[in-house]
């Protein structure tokens, strides 16, 4: 149980900067998810914390201790690898006991702890097997078990679900969340899957090209993304972006996308007034675009005429791919809607939940 701090951490591989001035304070007992596209430096950051990579600059602290020069074995951390990295020649029991044996833990204490961990994970009946006799999901649980018997200060997870099938992934996701509740320890979890991040994290750090984009609770990240990257990365299907101009007309402010023009709610007009006449990027999430027939009451609805391109029925909802002028966008509409390809339709945008980004800096304008 400890806090973790990244203090101006850099990691360079030759000319490539994998981690660029990373600053994160992770509180004790927090479940922090590092998320970002492949190659963004999130795994490198985790490996630096584990001590598997030396950092080029900055400091990493576990608790109050700077661990820059501390060997992995002395950092009191446990890690679950993407490939699980189970020792193939050892039984499940020995895999889990390995770390304890190296620390000269008494035999009965080892047995007690391994059995307890196995019970938490539901793998008691597998303790005598070798890793090659286990299924992917079982191996994953053994890898987690190997981490928890050590009772470390910090747990590190490096994409532990990416080798599981979809159904098992959902199940394991819930189990890991539950485990965090039970253990009350700091979890740091790396993934490229924003759904995993949203569902498990107490806070999410979005990283792109080695740079921390935003770190906040899942809901805040979703509702108030700081920049274009975060807005596009979090949420599925992704947020729709339109190149547009802010047009001032009769004291009111409109988002003018050429083929459409929508009114910015009055309570937010003052924020955007300085940008009147400028080019911006206008963002709306698919679920904030409605079929007028089923639009929820009380929203600030603005109509947009468009044409249906493709529809995808999901059962509980329909993804409609639409076009207006040069703009393509996706709407997540009520399943009772009846859309056919090439229908000319009017959609309504919920302007309460719109986002506007500066075209130059790509930062959210608030």
């Amino acid at each position: 149980m400890a806090s973790v701090t990244f203090d101006h951490v850099y990691k360079r591989f030759g000319d490539v900067i994998a981690v660029n001035d990373l600053n994160i304070q992770i509180a004790d007992k927090e479940f922090l998810v590092l998320v970002g596209p492949s190659g963004c430096g999130k795994t490198t950051a985790l490996r630096c914390l584990a001590g598997l990579e030396d950092i080029s600059e900055g400091r990493i602290l576990i608790g109050d201790q700077v661990v820059n020069d501390v060997a992995p074995k002395d950092r009191d951390i446990a890690m679950v690898f993407q490939s699980y990295a189970l020792y193939p020649h050892m039984s499940v029991f020995d895999n889990m006991a390995f770390g304890l044996r190296l620390r000269k833990t008494p035999r009965d204490e080892i047995k007690r702890r391994v059995e307890k961990a196995a019970q938490i994970l539901g793998i008691e009946h597998l303790l005598d097997r070798k890793p090659r006799q286990l299924s992917g999901g079982q191996r994953q649980r053994v890898a987690v078990g190997r981490a928890i018997v050590r009772e470390p200060k910090v747990f590190l997870f490096d994409e532990p679900l990416s080798n599981l099938d979809a159904k098992l992934r959902v199940e394991t996701r819930a189990n890991i969340s539950k485990l965090h509740q039970q253990l009350q320890t700091t979890f740091i979890y790396v993934t490229h899957d924003q759904v995993e991040a949203m569902t498990m994290a107490t806070r999410i750090a979005v990283i792109n090209k080695g740079i921390l984009q935003q770190i906040d609770t899942p809901q805040t990240l979703y509702d108030r993304p700081d920049n274009l990257f975060v807005a596009g990365f979090i949420g599925s299907p992704a947020m729709n972006f339109f190149s547009a101009t802010l047009r001032k007309d009769d004291g009111k402010l409109y988002v003018d996308g050429g083929s459409f023009s929508v009114l910015i709610p009055e309570n937010r007009t003052s924020v955007y007034m300085p940008y009147a006449g400028k080019q911006v990027i206008f963002g709306v999430r698919p679920e904030d675009i409605h079929n007028p027939e089923f639009a929820p009451p009380g929203i600030v609805a603005q109509p947009v005429n468009s044409k249906v391109d493709v529809t995808e029925l999901m059962g509980n909802e329909i993804f409609v791919y639409l076009k207006t002028g040069d703009h393509s966008f996706v709407a997540r509409v009520d399943p009772r809607s009846r859309y056919r390809i090439n229908d000319e339709v009017q959609m309504v945008f919920n302007m309460d939940n719109m986002h506007i980004f500066d075209k130059e800096t790509e930062l959210a304008i608030r």
């Binding site: 001590g51 598997l52 890690m79 690898f81 020792y87």
Partner: protein, 373 residues
Amino acid sequence: MQTTKEMRSQPTGALGWLTANLGRLLISLFVPVVTFIVLWQGFLFLRDSQAPQIVIVLVAILWGVGGVALLYLVSNWVVEQLPPAWTRVLQPFVFVGPGVAILAWYLAVPAFRTLLLSFQNNISTAWVGLDNYIFALTDRVMLEAFRNNLLWMIFGTSFSVGLGLLIAVLADRSRYESIYKAIIFMPMAISFVGAGVIWKFIYTYKGEGSGIQEIGLLNAIVLALGGQSQPWLNIPPWNNFFLIVIMVWLQTGYAMVIISSAIKGVPGELLEAARIDGASEIQAFFNVTIPYIRGTLITVTTTIIIFSLKLFDIVRVMTGGNNGTNVIANEFYLQRFTYGHAGRASAIAIILLIAVIPVMIYNLRQFQERRAF
């Protein structure tokens, strides 16, 4: 296939069936006979021809390679003419048969003959029971050879494998890995006899006396350090170790190359996991790397054990087995070709064979397990 044949033969009746199958039978006989004649003529040509050498060489290549292919093709074709049920049973033998036959002729039969000879007297004219074995297991010379082979097996193997492992691990972490490995591997390219000649220069001893100059490398070093020159190959039992050094020099490269490739196969994440679990580099090596390459280590070890059991060349070239350096294979050679005692030589060969068999079985079993891994 079967159905078409039946459909073809049924309407023509019994006579038709007979003629059709008789035709097939005749062709089936005709083709092998022609093949045999072609091959026989080729043989006669090679034996008696006065043609220019180059022609003979070309014909020989054609006859040898083509002949083998032809034999396979024709026998396969003949088997395919039989009813399908027969074809299925016989076809494997067409392909495996020649191999088995050659193995039997060159391996099984000689082994069996050696076994027979080992119960006969020196010129193989009378049965002598177990006399030869009693000699082989009790004679002072033989006991010395057994002891020496044991020395070779224990020290030669452990030093070769140990050094190979050490160098493989160290080279793996070095920047100049390929250079180091090439240097260590190079002696592998030298034959045991060649190595013997080289090391003879190293161990040369000229003796003491005025005007005598030592030309041996080892003695030169010893003299330069203020010591006294030594007849290295004449001091039992140490001379055995001086000979074993030669095998280690030759075999370390082999062990290193194989072990090195196994070490490269150890997933990096396994070692990282061990480090995070709290293992030092040495603990990670013994708890993760070694078990991971265990199969390879056993294979390399047993291979070198077999090598050292049947070791012959180095001893033959360096000391001829004198001065307490005799080994089983050398004694076999002496018995057979110097003393002309076929019985004793055969008994020694059989004992050597029996000694090697368990190691080989273990080696093979290990190999099979690794495939299942």
